[in-house]
Amino acid sequence: MTTTAATATAPAGTNQTAGAQRIAAAFQRARDDGRIALVPYIVAGYPDADTSLAIAIAAADAGADLLEVGLPYSDPLADGATIQRASQVAIAAGATLERSLQLIERVAAARPNLPLIPMGYANQVIGGGDGEAVAKRLGASGAAGLIVVDLTPDEGAPFEAVARAAGLAVVYLVAPTTSNERRARIASRSGGFLYCVSLVGVTGVRASLPPSLGKLVRAVKAVSPVPVAVGFGVSMPSHVRAIAKAGADGTAVGTALVEALGPDGRDVEALARLVRSLRGATHVD
């Protein structure tokens, strides 16, 4: 199995992996239900290990179709102030890669149908090597795929090879600044789904999404062989409805959920309420 995936004849990208198939199935279930998929994001180990497990389960039960699990990082340069702070709190509370993997294992055991997608930075995953060790551990923990915020297909091929061997989907991102030609290339390499960054900027709550979002989503959908989920800046049901209307297959919500947890990060019920109301907005008219 490992040998086959690693051979030179293996297709580019990671959309044929078991993880990618689990992700695709989750998008398909939502579609069958007349909805776009809701992909909440939580920070592993925030505010502490046990509470973050409770948060993950609450998000799952409140209507998550997939779950992004943020791996706290010391230098999260694509993230706004909220997630930066949450990451720092988690690290200070003892978050490590090992503990994040344990969290993923426990959530996977508790909610086996929920595809889990860790989200982190290149140095956590690849660092000085090719990322094989981390990919293996993630695969073993039950993760379906992985988002590496500062990894593009330009640098991603070696990691795709080890991710394929571990059965993981490597989810790439496209941005409003991505050219048409590049967008198609990235979409063809993305595993499971394609993450469409809604705006030019870092993560964080915005009062409104860019007016050109509909056009962006249509352009991305036109070239993507995999489902497209929109993230960055998504915080309220009206955003989710707009994204559904634009024709996306899913939406990712992060900062708004971290903020819903309150200043101490423990208001699990408030988070569950927000997830439910976002879920209510996922129906496609």
Partner: protein
């Protein structure tokens, strides 16, 4: 409609003028019964214009005109054109152009005659020549050159005939074109002077970029004159960089109240660069096959570095011993101390024949063109130049073909040859077949050996050859000769000789990224590949950023690819660095500091010996004597090397069409430099700075604000430099469409490490040239402090490909590497991805970045640029560490012994020096006696006076108290 009018039906205003001129001429000749008013015999001796223009640099042809159809009346009605012409000459004009057209320009042949009589430089008749009969009259009036407009002679034959007639009269024709078709027409003639006019004479509209766009159409064996649209000296400087030989300037001078001063300013702007880094890139040039004294005189006058006298029987340029000896004697007698080397050219001569040649010629060198054995080198008794022969046909496998040539070259170098020439082989005359061998093969050899290119070069292609092949010199024979006359020995054309030397000398001017000598190290240590990866395995660098930034990085990459070899950009930057930033910075020989460092090294060696438990040696440890040179970047504007990068990237921002600049800063030096460049170029500037650094570097915060920059405190993470980089990247992600991020170090995503290295490499380029001028050689050791690495790579880049130079960097060890509180990314770090590229960094097992610790804010960074990581991995640099306390001691020692207060960053390099000398850090010892050391003195220490207070208990080295 007259014939002229019909010919130029679509030629607008110029056609009207031409038609009127034809009437004038017809009338003139009718009145004189067809006899020209003055015969050519009446003309004074011709003054040489092409000789002047084929000297290095761009020359000024200053114009006299009273009015013009585009500007109306320009000069006062009582303008004294004779006085004006004299002022032009006094200001340094190479020639004077005089308008002869009366109706639109108010000129006359009388004006020309008067000007010609008043000056001693050549005079160009600016005339609308529509009729061959005009040329004789112009020559008779004293014209040395004449303008011929291609637009008036669209048929090939008419223009050719006019050019030929002018040449036969001794009038140098300047054929003017203004579009591609006219350029082709001009090139189809034998004119040596080609003008490109920014103005379309049909509409009078000026396009200031036109001449620059069309310049590449004219081969380098013509002299090229740019015309019209000059308002400022910057235009002239740009034209020089674009490869023009002259600028024809009119209105800007005529309107000037002080024409001599105005001319002087333009002449100065057109001069070739004379800074040490540019001068060092100029190749050695030899004129070979000198066949007569006239050729020798021409080559000497034009500044050749060597003259070849051919003593190979049976070759076309063969001289008898007597003939050669006569030329050699004459050159020695007539030329000054910087005369060209006299080289006796031989091929497979017997030892006794060589003895006879040496005895007869007393040559400075003997060149061996044949298949001489290595052993012969020691028999010659003079410096030996050896020719290596390339196969005649381009090889299939370049590396395979190069290997034996390189091996032979090394054998000859080892045997002591002074110079290697690289020539095509296999032709009838070894060493001079006139066939250019495969460029790729020549480049492969030149990358490994210091070679002088020979064989088939001409003024037209010598510059492109020198850009494609990192040869140290060029050699030419047939390419600078008059057309061969059967049965006669070839003779050099003085014009082609000086043009060849000019083109060779200018080939690498303002092209700092063009290699100009061998660099026999792994290419991955010298440059990134297409994906921005460095190293023998190409495992450092790359581009790890959020997708949002990829478009901006791709735009930056393609914009910079275009600029990297654009001499206009580098000339503009050089001028700014020279007049605004104080470059070149000096190198200073610090004897007292050297002595103190040597004593400190002896102390360290003694301590090391005793702690190692060895018997204390009876005598003191042997520390080499040294001469220590400091490259004084502290004397650059804003007090550190950072200005080199900031000015370059600010110019780059303009080229990118971006309107806002952001930067990060640690110690504040890069922030101050960027704020300074932005103030100069009127760009809004935001500087991100860690809140903790703002506390430590108060004066620099005030400076940035005074310069109009907004300083944004960064409180996230550790509130230091790395977090400022994160925050700057977040700003860039958000404002990427309008904003350029001026990254301050040779790190970050591709192409930043290359851009910043290229902008900083002039530190080492200058220092190398300065050292060669003073000491006659490169240093044995080049040493710099390293944080992110822009100062280190800037100093060291020049020496990476020089195997004789040991390279060392000093890392900030903070409280000591063993404490874990340090900023030593090489000695205490591991490979990882930080701020967009893979390199060495401080991190824990999970890849979390570990906070760096150093009292020096400029070194307080947990990573290092990818090229330095590659150099460290490849074993090309030695790495030493200096703690905070080591640095303070060195700072105090430097200040007391030399009266120079170094930045705390710089003091790390000084602190490392005695450790390297003592062999307790870096490679242990192995130093030659009489060591020559170059230290990058990256910045001044005013900002660090507080640190001196904080470390009041640390004293200077004992030897410096």
């Amino acid at each position: 409609m007259s014939a002229t009018q019909a010919r130029n039906a679509n030629a607008g205003i110029v056609a009207e003028i031409a038609a009127r001129r034809q009437q004038d001429i017809d009338a003139l000749f009718a009145a004189a019964d067809g006899i020209p008013p003055a015969g050519p015999a009446d003309g004074p001796p011709v003054r040489d214009l092409v000789g002047r223009l084929s000297a290095p640099g761009l020359h000024l042809i200053a114009e006299i005109k009273r009015s013009s159809p585009s500007a109306g009346r320009i000069a006062a009605t009582d303008d004294d054109i004779v006085a004006r012409a004299r002022a032009y000459q006094a200001g340094g004009a190479a020639a004077i152009s005089v308008l002869c057209e009366p109706h639109w320009f108010g000129g006359s042949v009388e004006d020309l005659r008067a000007v010609r009589a008043a000056v001693s430089i050549p005079v160009l008749a600016k005339e609308f020549v529509v009729d061959p009969r005009q040329l004789e009259g112009l020559r008779a009036a004293g014209a040395d050159a004449v303008l011929l407009l291609a637009v008036l002679h669209p048929g090939k034959r008419a223009l050719r005939a006019l050019v030929d007639l002018a040449l036969s009269l001794g009038l140098e024709p300047l054929v003017e074109a203004h579009d591609e078709r006219e350029v082709r027409l001009a090139l189809d003639t034998d004119a040596r002077l080609i003008g490109i006019n920014n103005r379309d004479l049909r509409t009078l509209v000026v396009d200031p970029e036109r001449a620059g766009r069309l310049r590449h159409l004219v081969p380098d064996d013509r002299l090229v004159v740019a015309e019209s649209g000059v308002r400022t000296v910057e235009t002239v400087a740009r034209w020089r960089a674009q490869g023009f030989d002259a600028a024809l300037v009119g209105e800007a001078l005529v309107r000037s109240a002080d024409p001599a001063a105005a001319v002087r300013a333009f002449v100065r702007a057109g001069g070739p660069p004379h800074d040490p880094a540019n001068v060092a890139r100029r190749p050695f040039a030899k004129i070979c096959g000198i066949g007569d004294l006239g050729s020798a005189v021409a080559a000497t006058a034009a500044g050749a570095d060597g003259l070849g006298l051919n003593l190979v029987p049976g070759t076309p340029r063969f001289l008898t011993l007597d003939e050669a000896a006569a030329i050699a004697t004459a050159v020695r007698a007539s030329a000054g101390p910087s005369r060209p080397a006299i080289v006796a050219i031989t091929a497979d001569a017997t030892p006794s024949a060589l003895d006879a040649i040496v005895a007869a010629l007393d040559p400075d060198a003997v060149q061996l063109n044949g298949t001489e054995p290595v052993a012969l080198v020691r028999r010659v008794g003079r410096p030996v130049w050896k020719v290596l022969h390339l196969p005649k046909d381009a090889p299939v496998d370049v590396a395979k073909a190069a290997a034996p040539i390189i091996e032979t070259g090394h054998a000859f170098l080892t045997a002591g040859v002074a110079r290697l020439l690289l020539d095509t082989a296999g032709g009838p005359h070894p060493g001079g077949t006139g066939v250019r061998a495969s460029e790729a093969l020549a480049a492969a050899v030149a990358r490994e050996l210091p070679v002088t290119l020979a064989g088939g070069l001409t003024p037209a292609d010598v510059a492109s050859a020198l850009r494609a092949i990192p040869a140290v010199g060029v050699d030419v024979a047939s390419g600078v000769e008059f057309p061969r006359e059967p049965g006669r020995r070839p003779v050099k054309d003085p014009y082609l000789v000086s043009l060849f030397l000019k083109r060779a000398a200018a080939a690498r001017d303002d092209r700092p990224n063009t290699p100009f000598g061998p660099t026999p190290v792994h290419p991955g240590l010298l440059d990134a590949d297409g994906a921005g990866r460095w190293g023998m395995e190409r495992d450092f660098g790359g581009r790890y950023v959020p997708e949002t930034l990829m478009a901006a990085l791709e735009q930056l990459e393609s914009a910079y690819d275009a600029l990297r070899h654009d001499p206009v950009f580098w000339s503009e930057l050089r001028e700014l660095l020279g007049t605004f930033a104080g470059r070149p910075t000096p190198i200073y020989r610090a004897d007292r500091l050297a002595q103190a460092a040597r004593a400190e090294a002896a102390r360290l060696a003694t301590v090391a010996a005793s702690t190692n438990g060895r018997q204390r040696a009876r005598s003191e440890p042997v520390i080499p004597t040294l001469r220590l040179y400091l490259k004084r970047e502290d004397l650059a504007h804003t007090g550190a090397h950072k200005i080199n990068n900031a000015l370059g990237q600010a110019l780059l921002t303009r080229r990118l069409g971006k309107t806002r600049v952001i930067a990060e800063t640690g110690a504040g030096q890069h922030g101050v430099a960027t704020a300074t460049a932005c103030a100069l170029l009127d760009l809004p500037c935001v500087v991100y700075m860690g809140a903790e650094d703002i506390e430590r570097q108060g004066p620099n915060v005030l400076r940035m604000r005074a310069l109009g920059a907004e300083v944004r405190p960064v409180t996230s993470g550790t509130a230091t430099l790395k977090d400022a980089v994160n925050e700057a990247m977040r700003d860039w992600v958000t404002n990427v469409e309008t904003t350029h991020y001026v990254l301050g170090s040779a790190m970050g995503p591709h192409p930043y490490p290359t851009i910043v290295r290229d902008l900083q490499r002039r530190i080492g380029d200058e220092a190398a040239a300065q050292l060669i001028a003073i000491e006659g050689r490169l240093p044995d050791l080049a040493l710099a402090c390293v944080g992110g690495g822009s100062n280190a790579i800037g100093l060291l880049a020049r020496f990476i490909g020089e195997p004789s130079v040991r390279l060392a960097v000093a890392e900030a060890a903070g409280d000591g590497i063993e404490t874990g509180r340090h900023a030593a990314a090489i000695l205490g770090g591991t490979p990882g991805i930080l701020h967009g590229s893979r390199s060495l960094m401080l991190q824990d097992r999970d890849g979390q970045v570990i906070e760096a610790h150093s009292a020096s804010a400029g070194l307080d960074y947990p990573g290092i640029g990818p090229q330095l990581a590659a150099l460290a991995e490849g074993g090309r640099i030695e790495v030493a560490a200096a703690t905070d306390r080591d640095a303070v001691a060195a700072m105090k020692a430097t200040t007391r012994t030399e009266g120079i207060l170094p930045a705390l960053e710089t003091a790390h390099a000084i602190a490392a020096l005695p450790k390297l000398l003592a062999g307790v850090e870096g490679l242990a010892g192995g130093w030659p006696a009489d060591l020559l050391v170059l230290v990058g003195f990256s910045g001044r220490g005013d900002k660090d006076l507080a640190a001196l207070e904080r470390f009041a208990d640390v004293d200077a080295w004992e030897s410096a108290r």
